[in-house]
């Protein structure tokens, strides 16, 4: 049997030590009415050779076109060393580091990761990760509500410039805790949060304001004014940021007079493959004052009996296994292996390398915009500074244009028409550092062809 090492002799010896005649006797406490066999829909065993063949066939069917979609998941170069090391058995098959002395590798790595996230975001403390970007935002909302005692309502302002899927995840997770998620619209020319719309809340009790930078459209929000406005209101600021962008954009710790209070986001750009959407990891960092309300595992430095430096999980009294129904969250696992990959990635790139990646993504996206600017029926949706991603408005339905581009081997962008019908036939496009000048030229050709056909249809 696969992975079971017992010999016939072992089985006889073990049953005899237990004092039963057969393995079946070990299940005699299960009532007869509940004993069952597996239905035939559970397929029979296959060998590794057979499953390898099947999976290779399926993978071949999934050959991917050239990707110009971002929308929260980005096709970056991943150094070979990242996953060579991450899948070493000592990282891959290790348990959560509850036994600190036997987990110094994972723990020191997490401490280094926390240091890197603090450096990148300009915040004070980082946890050791959450599940993904969307659920990290939901946890940040819950944390802000727990933390902001000055606010007697549970009202969080959620701009529509925040990724629509993040907003849905947040709704699912916070729905049963009597929290009001209030929508705030955007300014239609700039594609950024509408300050006038916010004025409606001036003087009102607001628990927290969420700001995504760059926002879902790739537009840059005026974070300094927004943060200062929120703080004047007594609201906490939750920054939702792209870690690659932070190599060149102002980190949330330096937004406005006092910086954001909590920052979170999707860690996928840091060396995690696209992999149909997961596993990724969410990151969360905050100001010192809020650390005891932060969910998830946190690693701290300490000393052993001989005074040597060592690392251990800390602040565990926040967590479910100690606090049970009074925990900050029910979270117990983080995304340890993804953090391993991200730490390797950040070490290999360094601040200088990350800035080059970020600038190349931005330059490629700008080149893409330039390449399509002369195509009839294509225009940028917004004016004003953007980073790494942009919205294009088309004069034909986005869905059929994208479908045709896909036929030509190009994933042309993310269709915005469902979530933002007011933008008309709009798509969100992104060209990472992996896209070449030839790729961008191919994109422009495919777009031109697709629109020509789409207009005729």
């Amino acid at each position: 049997m696969p992975f079971i090492p017992h010999t016939e002799q072992d089985i006889r010896d073990m049953l005899s030590a237990i004092g039963v005649a057969e393995i079946a006797s070990l299940f005699d406490e299960i009532p007869a009415s509940l004993r069952s066999n597996l239905p035939p829909s559970v397929p029979p065993q296959v060998t590794e050779m057979e499953i390898t063949r099947l999976l290779h066939e399926r993978a071949r069917r999934d050959a991917q076109p050239l990707c110009f979609i971002g929308a929260g998941a980005y096709d970056h170069h991943i150094p070979a060393a990242v996953w060579e090391l991450t899948t070493r058995g000592e990282f891959y098959s290790a348990y959560t580091p509850y036994q600190a002395e036997a987990s110094q590798g994972t723990l020191q790595l997490a401490y280094e990761y926390q240091t890197m996230m603090v450096g990148l975001t300009g915040m004070d403390v980082s946890n050791a990760s959450l599940y993904d970007g969307g659920s990290a935002l939901a946890e940040a909302v819950l944390m802000a509500v727990r933390r902001n005692r000055r606010s007697s309502v549970r009202r969080v302002l959620m701009p529509t410039t925040v990724h629509p899927a993040y907003r849905r995840v947040t709704e699912t997770i916070v729905r049963n805790q009597a929290i009001e998620l209030e929508t705030v619209g955007y300014e239609s020319r700039a594609g950024t949060l509408n300050l006038a719309a916010l004025e409606r809340w001036s003087g009102e009790d607001v628990t927290a304001l969420v700001i995504q930078q760059p926002n879902f459209f790739g537009c840059l929000e005026d974070v300094n004014s927004l943060v200062d406005w929120a703080h004047t209101q007594g609201a906490l600021v939750i920054a939702l940021v792209n870690p690659i962008a932070l190599a060149v954009l102002t980190p949330p710790g330096q937004w406005g007079q006092n910086g954001a209070d909590i920052a979170c986001g999707e860690g996928q750009p840091l060396g995690i493959p696209l992999s149909s959407g997961g596993p990724y990891f969410g990151f969360m960092v905050c100001k010192n004052a809020h650390v005891r309300q932060m969910p998830g595992r946190i690693v701290g430095k300490t000393v052993d009996l001989e005074g040597r430096a060592g690392y251990t999980l800390t602040l565990q009294p926040r967590e479910q296994h100690i606090r049970r129904s009074k925990a900050t969250s029910n979270i117990c696992t983080n995304q340890g292996l993804m953090v391993t990959a991200a730490t390797l990635y950040m070490s290999l790139l360094g601040a200088g390398g990350l800035a080059r990646v970020a600038a190349a993504c931005h330059a490629n996206t700008q080149a893409l915009l330039a390449a399509v600017s002369n195509i009839e029926g294509v225009r940028p949706a917004f004016i004003g500074p953007s980073f790494h991603e942009a919205v294009l408005q088309l004069d034909a339905p986005a869905r059929s244009a994208l479908e045709r581009m896909a036929g030509a081997g190009i994933l042309g962008g993310y269709d915005l028409s469902q979530d933002y019908p007011e933008l008309g036939h709009a798509i969100l496009v992104c060209a990472t550092e992996k896209r070449t000048d030839e790729d961008i030229a191919a994109y422009a050709r495919a777009m031109q062809g697709a629109l020509r056909v789409a207009r005729r249809a």
Binding site: D13, S36, L38, T96, T115, S135, T172, I298, E306, S347
Partner: protein, 483 residues
């Protein structure tokens, strides 16, 4: 030494970043970062060497046995990783059209079908990204069900006192009050306490079977009947499914919703604390409320079902489609096991646990529920050793590390004093189990001879026992350069 301490200004892994630093002239200064982030400046070899060395400071299944109760630390077959990491699977953007993902979606659909059959539920959603998220979804579904029926007076979730801490934490996250009920002396739920707790305020009950004390809940059918009669629903925490895989099904026991820790029973790696996956199964009552997305098959075509097809769904738990890469690993594992292999998992996990329990009992250790069969795990109580010799569960746990065994789960469940919750799993050999018994006996002898020596353990690891109080009191959560 930290990676930051290897750092020298101006050094980096030159092969990894674009050759040019492109201009950012179109981005106004006021939006730009003023000083570079504090990240290490190191060469590629330095990175590889540093993290290879760090990895060697870990225990892992690949290097040590992990009899860690409630965690199912079985072998993670390498094929599962290799095949889940085929380049085409890794390259797929989550928003790529379904037609560029028919291979991966076929695997996920088949996994849903296999898990549906194994659990006896009506359907499965693979959306939750961890066990605790599966729990959150399950309890949120119970709440959505009651709300859809206007039963707003159902405000309580019943949880046994032996339950994992996530259970009460989850119930609270879903806006419920938690009502704990006692465990009877035989390890089963105290039926009188249950009857007393049930009422018109009951929304549901959260149970693990086999329970966290490592025994099969023999009156589960009666419990299900009582809870359903009171108008409540039953939630199954699948942490211990390894014990009954192919032998008994939660759906047949009367559970309405379950989650499975694929990183336990279905052998996806723990990765030093995630990523996991918490597949969720639902019966007739709760099927419509399952989280999205769910893979559907239409003829020979697979596609994601989302809000449109599932209007009653509790919604989305992740930005995209859950931990797809983890699900692929679980799929490969279920195929390598097949139907025959699944029966063997339960049989040999149970054989190993009962053998280890019998050997430890024969060696004079006290078993918490000696009159019961072990499921895939059991509890040793070191109350006597703590009282007579002064060696606690923590002391045994730390000294076991020196003998090359990861410690069992300590001090859990909370209702057994000086508990070691021990789960050997089916993939360990008899020799390994015998070695564990020998180590436990040696430690007891050592403690009798020189208690201070045992209390000083571990000795052979990268660090000695760590000062956790200091870690919490003098918080040092990130490295800072000395100025």
């Amino acid at each position: 030494m930290l990676i930051f301490e290897h750092s020298r200004e101006g050094r980096r892994a030159y092969a990894q970043a674009p050759r040019q630093l492109a201009g950012l002239a179109d981005i106004p200064e006021s939006y730009r970062r003023r000083s570079p982030a504090l990240l290490p400046e190191v060469s590629e070899l330095q990175v590889v060497r540093h993290y290879t060395r760090l990895s060697q400071k870990n225990f892992s299944i690949d290097t040590q046995a992990y009899p860690l109760g409630s965690c199912t630390m079985k072998y993670n077959p390498r094929a599962c990783n290799t095949l889940a990491m085929l380049p085409e699977f890794l390259a797929r953007h989550p928003y790529a059209p379904d037609r560029f993902g028919q291979g991966v979606l076929a695997c996920l659909w088949e996994l849903q079908e296999i898990l549906t059959a194994v659990t006896g539920m009506k359907g499965v959603s693979l959306a939750p990204m961890a066990g605790a998220q599966g729990e959150l979804a399950g309890v949120a579904m119970i709440r959505a069900y009651h709300e859809a029926r206007g039963a707003h007076e159902r405000t309580e979730i019943i949880v046994p006192d032996a339950a994992h801490g996530t259970n009460p934490a989850t119930a609270v996250m879903c806006g419920y009050k938690v009502r704990e009920i006692a465990t009877a002396t035989d390890g089963d739920v105290d039926m009188a306490a249950l009857k007393q707790a049930l009422g018109p305020q009951t929304a549901g009950i959260m149970l693990t079977n086999p329970s966290t004390v490592g025994v099969f809940e023999r009156r589960i059918e009666e419990i299900a009947r009582l809870v359903h009669e009171a108008g409540g629903l039953l939630y199954y925490d699948g942490a211990n499914l390894n014990a009954i895989l192919g032998k008994a099904r939660p759906g047949d026991m009367g559970f309405d919703v379950i989650h499975l820790n694929l990183h336990k029973t279905f052998s996806t790696p723990h990765g030093g604390g995630g990523p996991g996956a918490g597949a969720l199964g639902a019966g007739e009552r709760l099927h419509a409320f399952m989280p999205i997305p769910i893979v559907a098959r239409e003829g020979e075509h697979y596609r994601w079902h989302t809000e449109t097809e599932r209007p009653q769904s509790i919604g989305r738990l992740s930005t995209f489609g859950g931990n797809v890469g983890v699900l692929l690993r679980a799929y490969v594992y279920t195929r390598l096991l097949g139907r025959e292999g699944m029966y063997r998992v339960a049989e040999f996990a149970t054989l190993n646990a009962n053998y280890l329990m019998a050997r430890l009992r024969a060696a004079g250790f006290q078993i918490a529920y000696p009159q019961r069969r072990a499921s895939h795990e059991f509890i040793v109580s070191l109350k006597r050793e703590a009282k007579e010799i002064g060696a606690t569960a923590m002391d045994f746990a730390k000294r076991l590390l020196d003998y090359g065994f990861h410690a069992p789960t300590t001090y859990f469940p909370l209702l057994v004093a000086e508990a070691l919750l021990i789960e050997p799993t089916e993939t360990e050999t008899k020799e390994e189990l015998d070695g564990f018994v020998a180590a436990m006996c040696r430690i007891r002898d050592e403690a009798r001879a020189d208690l201070a020596f045992v209390k000083g353990a571990p000795y052979k690891l990268p660090v000695r026992r760590l000062d956790e109080v200091r870690a919490a009191r003098e918080l040092n959560l990130s490295w800072k350069p000395s100025v």
